[in-house]
């Protein structure tokens, strides 16, 4: 074994009635990796991610996250992961500091840890002037960076990001990815879904989901070689051309 696998999925499936949202997907993610999860709207990215986070029970298949089985120990998984959902989910009627304090407290950080982490985080995001202001008033780009920082406040082994840069302008997206790299350097594994294909280039490995199945999984350069494409856009269109599900 050369690398430690922190996420293992084997034929992971989720059905809602007749509809198979995620259809027997299998993949492994190594520690410290930036793993990109690409797919059109409705391809099943979010559902797959929610199963790995212990938010949704798989219908069949197997998966373990941070060494814990998703069926038996969803609450143990939750101690070891961070999660940033598609919807902005910090409390808009609390200040930046209060949000940090709340999530730090929920994850069981000591008061000193909360204080230190809070200061570090606010300095890193350069939000000193806004620290005591309500989150409601922040621009979207900053909100997303703050949400990401709060998601890793307890220094989890893995952080799941569900379309973290949706609706964010290019400059802020670039800054966001810098944050992701800094986090990965600390040894935190990043599992990120996106539909910005340029962002796929920033990932160590990329899986492309079409109609609930993983149709390709490789490094960006490997994918481009296989599909004889000049960029990820071309790779994606070749794969997604045959998709039957319409976007939602």
């Amino acid at each position: 074994m050369d690398k430690e696998m922190v996420i293992k999925a084997d034929k992971l499936t989720k059905r809602f009635g007749d509809f198979t949202a995620v259809d027997a997907v299998s993949f492994d993610v190594a520690k410290g990796e930036i793993f990109g999860f690409l797919g059109a709207n409705g391809a099943g990215k979010t559902t797959a991610m929610r199963m790995l986070c212990g938010l949704s029970k798989p219908t069949s298949g197997e998966a373990s996250v941070a060494g814990f089985d998703v069926f038996r120990y969803p609450e143990k998984i939750k101690k070891n992961i961070g999660y940033m959902s598609q919807k902005f989910s910090l409390y808009e009627d609390l200040t930046i500091k209060e949000n940090i304090e709340f999530y730090g407290g929920i994850y069981g950080l000591t008061n000193k840890q909360i204080k230190d982490k809070g200061t570090e985080l606010i300095d890193m995001l350069d939000l000193q002037a806004e620290a005591n202001k309500l989150v409601r008033g922040l621009p979207l780009g900053w909100k997303q960076k703050l949400a990401f920082s709060v998601a890793i406040i307890h220094e989890p082994k893995i952080v799941f990001l569900d379309e973290p840069t949706g609706g964010v302008d290019p400059a802020n997206r670039k800054q966001f990815w810098e944050l992701i790299y800094e986090t990965a350097d600390k040894g935190i594994t990043i599992f990120v879904t996106t539909h910005y294909l340029d962002e796929a280039e920033y990932c160590d490995r990329v899986s492309i989901m079409v109609d609930g199945k993983i149709s390709a999984l490789d490094t960006p350069s490997g994918l481009k070689k296989t599909y004889n494409a000049k960029d990820m856009n071309e790779v994606f269109f070749q794969l997604a051309r045959n998709a039957t599900r319409s976007g939602d």
Partner: protein
């Protein structure tokens, strides 16, 4: 326990930051307690009466005066044509028509008896029945007066009558507010406990913050407690405000123990907040939660014994009231505040409320799912 503290701190920050919430908590009890007991009064006044006087005698005049000066009736028509009176009822201007026949005075003197016709508009049933009752007692009274005046006083009253003197215990002057205020206090706690709490978790579902909570290792019962406790505290604040108004404005000083009242308020709030949280675990949107709570609270209010007596409901309805927490607390409030009942008098209601509270809260915890 430390997690709970963080949850509570967050909830209270949000509550105090929401001006709408504060207004509800502070202004609602004041308005309801000042307005409702005065407005929603059982005592029927302003009954519209039309008198059709075919007699136009001294006696019929006296009778008319007596009716009007009673204070309950408003004369809306005075003619000598029954059809005119009937028309007033048709047009909803009159509630009662009293017909005084021709030769009323003469026949009364000569025959010692005379019939009067009373026609009542029974669309508003309560008003009709009570109005009819008032009118009958005025007529009886008048009847007595006439006898006293006309019949020579005898040593032995030829018609023995039974005089009933009733004394009203616990509310000697039958003051309506004394009966109503304790009930409205319960209604307030119901609104705070059952209604506001129902929206809370749903609101987090709608804005998406619940996902972020569900992905943390927080324990379900801690989360529910974090939602339960703030509403209980708010409820107790409202209860205190209400008690102050009851004492200061209405002079209702509880006869029984204040401690017992607060104990019941606490248990009742736990039950009702549990109910609200249960609803919010079943609802996906605030509209759903609103419809559900509205449905239940209407039933709770109308069947609780607040406005109508449970004892006079049909048997099947009485069985339903057994499942309504409101009915126990209203009963107990009136017992403690007005009668000064002790704990052993209300132990049954206490036990039932505790059981209901346990069931509802456990149900809410079970039904709140972090993993779907």
């Amino acid at each position: 326990m430390r997690t709970l503290m963080f949850l509570l701190r967050k909830e209270f920050r949000q509550i105090f930051r929401d001006p709408g919430m504060l207004r509800i908590i502070l202004i609602m009890p004041v308005i309801q307690l000042l307005v409702l007991p005065r407005a929603a009064d059982y005592e029927i006044k302003n009954i519209n009466i039309a008198i059709e006087d075919y007699d136009h005698s001294v006696v019929s005049q006296q009778l008319t005066n007596k009716i009007i000066s009673s204070g309950y009736f408003k004369l809306v028509g005075y003619h000598n044509d029954y059809n005119k009176g009937y028309e007033l009822i048709e047009r909803d201007k009159a509630d009662i028509v009293l017909e005084i026949p021709v030769d009323f005075e003469q026949k009364l003197i000569r025959n010692n008896s005379q019939d009067l016709l009373v026609a009542v508009n029974a669309i508003n049933g309560t008003k009709a029945i009570i109005g009819n009752g008032y009118l009958s007692s005025i007529l009886m009274d008048y009847n007595k007066e006439i006898r006293m005046k006309w019949l020579p006083p005898t040593r032995f009253n030829e018609l023995p009558t039974i005089d009933i003197v009733s004394s009203n215990w616990y509310n000697p002057n039958l003051v309506y507010a004394v009966f109503m205020v304790p009930g409205i206090l319960v209604l307030l706690l119901t609104l705070i406990g059952g209604n506001l709490s129902a929206f809370n978790i749903v609101k987090e579902k709608e804005i998406g913050t619940i996902e972020q909570i569900n992905v943390t290792p927080i324990k379900k019962h801690i989360f529910i407690m974090g939602k339960l406790i703030p509403f209980i505290i708010m409820g107790l604040v409202v209860f205190t405000l209400g008690m102050i108004i009851a004492v200061v404005v209405y002079g209702i000083i509880p006869v029984g123990s204040m401690l017992l009242l607060y104990l019941f308020a606490l248990v009742y709030l736990v039950t009702l907040v549990g109910f609200g949280l249960l609803i919010s675990t079943y609802s996906e949107t605030q509209v759903q939660a609103q419809s559900l709570t509205f449905f239940f609270l209407i039933i709770f209010n109308l069947m609780s014994g607040l406005f109508t007596s449970i004892d006079s409901m049909p048997h099947w309805a009485q069985i339903i009231t057994r499942f309504i927490p409101l009915s126990y607390f209203i009963e107990v409030m009136r017992m403690i505040v007005l009668k000064g009942s002790h704990f052993h008098d209300v132990a049954y209601q206490f036990t039932i409320l505790i059981i209901m509270g346990l069931v509802l809260n456990t149900w809410a915890i079970i039904n709140y799912r972090k993993t779907t």
